[in-house]
C-alpha cells in the first residue's frame, strides 16, 4: 500500500469526496428513492390555530380513485400508537416537573396550530392522495387562540392543554438570585435592555420526506427519512410511538439536504408512513411541499427577554440578571425544553468574568408550530443578549466598547475557568481573536470609511461581537442529571479490510458538513491510508452499530474522538500481530504512517501486511488473538467544547430607503484544531449567512389570531446572493484540552457570533439619530421608521 502524502491528513484542504455525486445529479435524497409497489401519503392539516374536532367524515375521500386507506388520529390511537416523546425533562423552580402534555401523531380531539396533522390519505399516486384529502370533511369548532406568549400568559387566555395551566410549560431558573440582587444594589451603573430574539424558520433546502416499508415476510419495518440522527429516530419511534423493537426496525437517513437542527426531531410523518405501510402492506411515501414545511418543521429562537448588567466604576461587570419568555409552540418538540435552559442560560457568562448571574425562564405554549433547536440553539440567543448589552453598557458608561470587553475578558491564564452558571471552560484566548479580527477588519481605519460614506449620503456603522458557545454536548452523566433522557456519546467503528482499505462506520450524520472527507482525513492521518481508500458509512441503523447523530457541532469532537479511540485499538491489535510476524516483543513495535516497525531496526510491516495476516491467519498468534481487524469505540466526552471568537460587521444604510447592506464581514474563530480548513471556512460562511439573515431579513410572522403569515418562500425572506457580503474567515487555535483531537466544533459559530455584530453595526450607523437598540430583523421598513421618527427632532436641534 502507498504511504499517504501528508497533504491528505489533518490540516489539509482536501477536496470533498461526496461532491462528485452531488455535482452530477447522482445524490440519493429520500425523495429520489422509490420502492417497488410504493403508495403516496398526503397529510391533511389544520387550517385553524385552535379548534375542537367534533368529527371527521372520511367516507367520500375513501371512495376516491386510487385511495387505499384514510386514517385519523382516532384510528391510530385505537391501534395503540403512542404520542411523540419529548427527550428532555426540565424542573420548575419549586422542583416539580415541567408540564408535558400529550403530543398525538395525528390530532385526536383538538388541533393546536395551523398545520397540525389531522388525517392521512394513502393512495396510488401523490395527486390522488392530495385530491382525496380535499374530500375529507372535518367538523371544527373554532376556539380562540393564543398566538403570542403575551396572549398565552394573560389572565383568561385560551388554554391549549389540560395539563398545562396558564399555558406554562415550566418556570425555571439558574444562579444565586440573592447574590445577584446584592451586586445590583451596590452597582455604579446598571445597563438595561429589553429585546426580542426573532422567530425563524430553518428552511433547509431539501423539504422533509419519509418512506415507510413493511416486509410481510419478516414483519420488519424500514423507514427512509430526512434525519440528522437515524438511531435516535429508531429509538424514539420504536420504543415510544409504534412499539417496534430495534431488531425489527431499520432507519435510513440517506443523503440529506441540509438540517440546521430542523431534522433532529422525531416528527409525526415518520411514524405515520411507517405505521401506514404495515396497514396497507405496501411502501408509503410522503414528501413535504415547502408550504407544508413552513407549518410543520420545528421553528427556532422566539425569545422575549429583559436583561440587566451591573457594573462598577471601572467598567467591571458585577452581575447579570436575565428574565426570558421562551416560546415552545403548541407541543414539545423532541429537545425543545433544553434549548432555552441548559443551552441558553448556561452561556450567559459569555467570554467575561461576570461573578454572579441569575436567569429565569418561563417556557410558554402558544398556538404556533413547535419551536426547537435551530443552528446555535440557545447560544445565539444568549450571545445576542450579552453582546447587545455590552454595547449599551459601553454607551452608558462612556467606556469604549472594545475596551469594555477587554476589561472583562477571561484571561488566557485563568483556564480552566469555572463560570457561575455551571460550565467550566477549558481553553481559549479571547484577546487574541479580538485583536486578530480588529486588525483584519481595519477597525482603526473605520472613521475614515464612515466619513467617506457620509459624503455619498450613506450611514456607515461598525459592530463587534465576542462570543463563546458550548458544543459537543455531554458528558452523559451530567446531561442526565440535567434532565436529558438519552446519553450523548458517539460510536465509531474502524474496519480495516483484508487488502488494507478502510470503512469507517459513524453514528454521526452528514447533511452538508463533509464528513465523508473530514473523517477520511482522520484515518489518513492516523493509519496512513489514502483518503481515496477510506469509505465513510453513516445514516443507516442496519449498518452502523449505534449513534446519537449530528447536531450541536458534535460530529468531530464526539464522533471523531470515537474514531480516534477505535483506531487506537486497531493499532494496539496491529502491534501484537506485527510482533508475532517479526518475532519481536510488542513493546518494541512502533506505528507511524501506516507502518509497524521494530524499534531500532529496519524490520517493518505495512498495515496491509498486518490486515492480510489478520484475515488469513496462517501465521498468527491465534491462541491469544482473534482474527480480523475491526474495532468499535464508544466515546463519552469529559466536558463540552468551547469554540469562541470575534465577529466584526460593517454596514451601510441608505437613509432614503432604510435598506441596510453588510459591506464587510470578518470572522476570527477559535474552533480548536482544524482538520480541513476549506470545510471549516465554508461552515463559518454558511453560519454567518444565516446570522445575517436573522439580523436583517428573516422573521416568522403569525397574526394575532394565530394564522401563519410568512408561510412560504414568497413571504419569508431567505437571504439571497445579493443580500450577503463576502465573508472573510480566519481561525486562531487554542486546543480543546479534553478530547484526543483538540477540536471544538465549527458548525454553529457563524450563526452565533454574527447577529449581534450586525445589529451593533446598525445601531452604530444610526447613532446620530439617538438610537439605542434596533430589533431584529432590521428591515428597511424598521430602519426607515426609526430614521423618520427622529428626523424632525434632528432638524429642530
Amino acid at each position: 500500500m502507498n504511504v499517504v502524502t501528508p497533504f491528505e491528513g489533518i490540516g489539509a484542504s482536501v477536496r470533498r469526496k461526496e461532491d462528485l455525486r452531488f455535482l452530477s445529479g447522482r445524490g440519493q435524497y429520500t425523495d429520489d428513492l422509490n420502492r417497488q409497489g410504493q403508495t403516496w401519503a398526503h397529510i391533511l392539516r389544520s387550517p385553524h390555530p385552535h379548534a375542537r374536532i367534533r368529527g371527521i367524515d372520511t367516507r367520500a375521500a375513501s371512495a376516491m380513485p386510487g385511495v387505499l386507506a384514510v386514517f385519523t388520529g382516532k384510528d391510530m390511537a385505537e391501534a395503540g400508537v403512542g404520542g411523540l416523546p419529548c427527550g428532555w425533562l426540565i424542573h420548575n423552580k419549586d422542583g416539580s416537573p415541567m408540564a408535558e402534555p400529550p403530543h398525538p401523531v395525528l390530532a385526536v380531539d383538538k388541533v393546536r396550530h395551523v398545520g397540525d396533522p389531522v388525517a392521512v390519505v394513502v393512495a396510488e399516486t401523490r395527486a390522488q392522495a392530495r385530491d382525496a384529502a380535499e374530500a375529507i370533511a372535518v367538523d371544527y369548532e373554532v376556539l380562540p387562540a393564543a398566538a403570542t406568549m403575551a396572549q398565552a400568559l394573560a389572565p383568561g387566555a385560551p388554554q391549549l392543554h389540560e395539563g398545562a395551566p396558564g399555558n406554562l410549560c415550566y418556570d425555571w431558573h439558574i444562579g444565586d438570585k440573592a447574590v445577584v440582587d446584592a451586586a445590583f444594589a451596590r452597582a455604579h451603573k446598571v445597563a438595561t435592555l429589553e429585546l426580542v430574539n426573532n422567530r425563524l424558520v430553518p428552511n433547509a433546502m431539501e423539504p422533509r420526506a419519509a418512506i415507510g416499508e413493511y416486509d410481510r415476510g419478516t414483519g420488519d419495518y424500514t423507514l427512509w427519512t430526512t434525519s440528522q440522527n437515524p438511531h435516535v429516530i429508531r429509538l424514539l419511534m420504536g420504543a415510544n410511538v409504534l412499539h417496534i423493537p430495534e431488531s425489527r426496525l431499520r432507519v435510513i437517513a440517506p443523503d440529506v439536504g441540509g438540517g440546521f437542527g430542523s431534522k433532529i426531531y422525531h416528527y409525526a410523518e415518520e411514524a405515520i408512513v411507517t405505521w401506514a405501510s404495515g396497514r396497507v402492506e405496501r411502501p408509503v411515501k410522503w414528501t413535504a411541499d415547502r408550504v407544508e414545511s413552513f407549518m410543520s418543521d420545528a421553528h427556532g429562537r422566539d425569545h422575549v427577554t429583559k436583561a440587566e448588567l451591573a457594573l462598577d466604576q471601572d467598567g467591571k461587570i458585577l452581575a447579570l440578571r436575565v428574565s426570558t419568555l421562551a416560546n415552545m409552540g403548541a407541543y414539545l418538540s423532541t429537545f425543545a425544553p433544553c434549548i432555552p435552559t441548559y443551552l441558553y442560560a448556561t452561556l450567559l457568562a459569555g467570554v467575561y468574568t461576570t461573578p454572579a448571574i441569575y436567569c429565569e425562564v418561563k417556557a410558554v405554549f402558544t398556538n404556533t408550530v413547535p419551536v426547537d433547536a435551530y443552528r446555535g440553539a440557545g447560544r445565539p440567543e444568549a450571545t445576542y443578549l450579552l453582546e447587545r448589552l455590552m454595547d449599551v453598557a459601553a454607551a452608558e458608561t462612556g467606556i469604549d466598547r472594545i475596551e469594555l470587553r477587554r476589561r472583562n475578558f477571561i484571561r488566557p491564564d485563568q483556564f480552566p475557568y469555572q463560570t457561575p452558571v455551571a460550565l467550566q471552560y477549558d481553553s481559549g484566548n479571547y484577546h487574541a481573536t479580538l485583536d486578530q479580527a480588529l486588525q483584519a477588519a481595519d477597525w482603526a481605519g473605520f472613521e475614515a470609511r464612515r466619513a467617506e460614506a457620509k459624503r455619498r449620503g450613506r450611514l456607515r456603522g461598525i459592530g463587534v461581537s465576542t462570543y463563546i458557545e458550548a458544543c459537543g454536548i455531554a458528558p452523559s452523566a451530567v446531561v442526565g442529571s440535567l434532565g436529558a433522557r438519552a446519553g450523548l456519546y458517539e460510536v465509531g467503528t474502524i474496519r480495516v479490510h483484508p487488502t488494507g482499505s478502510v470503512t469507517v462506520l459513524t453514528g454521526a450524520h452528514s447533511h452538508g458538513q463533509g464528513h465523508e472527507t473530514t473523517f477520511a482525513q482522520l484515518v489518513a492521518d492516523k493509519l496512513g491510508v489514502p483518503v481515496a481508500q477510506v469509505e465513510v458509512v453513516h445514516g443507516d441503523t442496519g449498518k452502523v452499530p449505534f449513534g446519537m447523530g449530528t447536531y450541536g457541532s458534535r460530529s468531530l469532537a464526539v464522533g471523531g474522538s470515537a474514531m480516534m479511540k477505535a483506531m487506537d485499538k486497531i493499532i494496539a491489535k496491529g502491534k501484537r500481530i506485527a510482533a508475532h510476524l517479526m518475532e519481536a516483543s510488542v513493546e518494541d513495535i512502533e506505528f507511524e504512517r501506516g507502518e509497524f516497525r521494530v524499534a531500532g531496526t529496519d524490520k517493518k510491516k505495512t498495515l496491509t501486511e498486518i490486515s492480510v495476516a489478520a484475515y488469513v491467519p496462517h501465521n498468527y498468534p491465534i491462541e491469544e488473538l482473534e482474527p480480523g481487524l475491526e474495532e468499535t469505540a464508544f466515546y463519552d466526552p469529559k466536558n463540552f467544547t468551547f469554540p469562541a471568537g470575534c465577529h466584526v460587521a460593517e454596514v451601510e444604510i441608505d437613509p432614503e430607503t432604510g435598506r441596510t447592506q453588510v459591506v464587510n464581514f470578518t470572522a476570527v474563530d477559535d474552533v480548536g484544531r482544524v482538520i480541513n480548513p476549506m470545510i471549516v471556512e465554508g461552515q463559518v460562511q454558511g453560519g454567518v449567512a444565516q446570522g445575517i439573515g436573522q439580523a436583517l431579513l428573516e422573521r416568522c410572522v403569525y397574526d394575532e389570531n394565530g394564522q401563519l403569515l410568512s408561510g412560504s418562500m414568497m413571504d419569508y425572506t431567505m437571504p439571497r446572493a445579493d443580500d450577503l457580503p463576502p465573508v472573510g474567515v480566519a481561525t486562531h487555535t487554542t486546543l480543546c484540552t479534553h478530547n484526543p483531537l483538540g477540536v471544538k466544533g465549527c458548525g454553529e459559530v457563524g450563526a452565533i457570533g454574527s447577529p449581534p455584530a450586525v445589529i451593533n453595526a446598525v445601531v452604530d450607523a444610526l447613532k446620530e439619530y439617538g438610537v439605542r437598540h434596533v430589533e431584529m430583523p432590521a428591515t428597511p421598513e424598521r430602519i426607515w421608521q426609526i430614521i423618520n421618527a427622529n428626523r424632525p427632532r434632528m432638524a429642530a436641534e
Partner: protein
C-alpha cells in the same frame, strides 16, 4: 392522456402525462432523472432549474406538455460521456461551492446560463445579482460566487485550466 415528445440530455422520449404534470415531475418520476430537485412550490428557490432549448428555466413551473419538441438538459447531461465534468461542475468542487448538495444542480444550471449569456465576463456583483433566482441555505454564496467567477474564465476560453482555489 396527452403525449409529449421531447429530447432530454440528447435522448428522445415520448411520454404520457396528465395535463397538470410539471416538467420536473416528468423528469423525476417518469425518466428517473432525480438530479433535478424541488425545494419550494412558489418558484423561489431554483433547485429545479434545467435548460430548455439552451435557456435556464424553473422546471417546477413549466408544464410538461409545454415542452413538446424541446431540447432539455439536466444536471445529469452536463458531464462528457467519458465522465469529464463541465468546467462549472469542476469549479464548484474546487471552490467548495456546495455543502448539502441539494440546491447544487439548479445552481450549476443557472450559473452556466448566466455565464454563457455574458461573454464579456461578470463582476462579483453581477454574479450575485444573476443568482437571485437560486437559494442556497448552506454556503452563504461566498464560494458559489468564486466558483462561477473562475468557471467563466474557462468557459470563455480565457484560461485553459481552472484557477486553483487559494489554500
Amino acid at each position: 392522456m396527452p403525449q409529449v415528445t421531447l429530447t432530454v440530455n440528447g435522448k428522445k422520449h415520448t411520454v404520457e402525462v396528465e395535463p397538470r404534470t410539471l416538467l420536473v415531475e416528468l423528469l423525476r418520476e417518469k425518466l428517473r432523472l432525480t438530479g433535478t430537485h424541488v425545494g419550494c412550490d412558489t418558484s423561489q428557490c431554483g433547485a429545479c432549474v434545467v435548460h430548455i432549448n439552451g435557456d435556464s428555466v424553473k422546471s417546477c413551473t413549466t408544464l410538461a406538455v409545454m415542452c413538446e419538441g424541446a431540447e432539455v438538459t439536466t444536471i445529469e447531461g452536463l458531464a462528457s460521456p467519458d465522465g469529464t465534468l463541465h468546467p462549472m461542475q469542476e469549479a464548484f468542487r474546487e471552490y467548495h461551492a456546495l455543502q448539502c448538495g441539494f440546491c447544487t444542480p439548479g445552481m450549476v444550471m443557472s450559473a452556466i446560463d448566466l455565464v454563457r449569456k455574458n461573454p464579456q465576463g461578470l463582476s462579483e456583483e453581477e454574479i450575485r445579482h444573476g443568482l437571485e433566482g437560486n437559494l442556497c441555505r448552506c454556503t452563504g454564496y461566498h464560494n458559489i460566487v468564486k466558483a462561477i467567477a473562475a468557471a467563466q474564465e474557462v468557459m470563455h476560453g480565457r484560461r485553459k485550466e481552472l484557477a486553483r482555489a487559494a489554500e
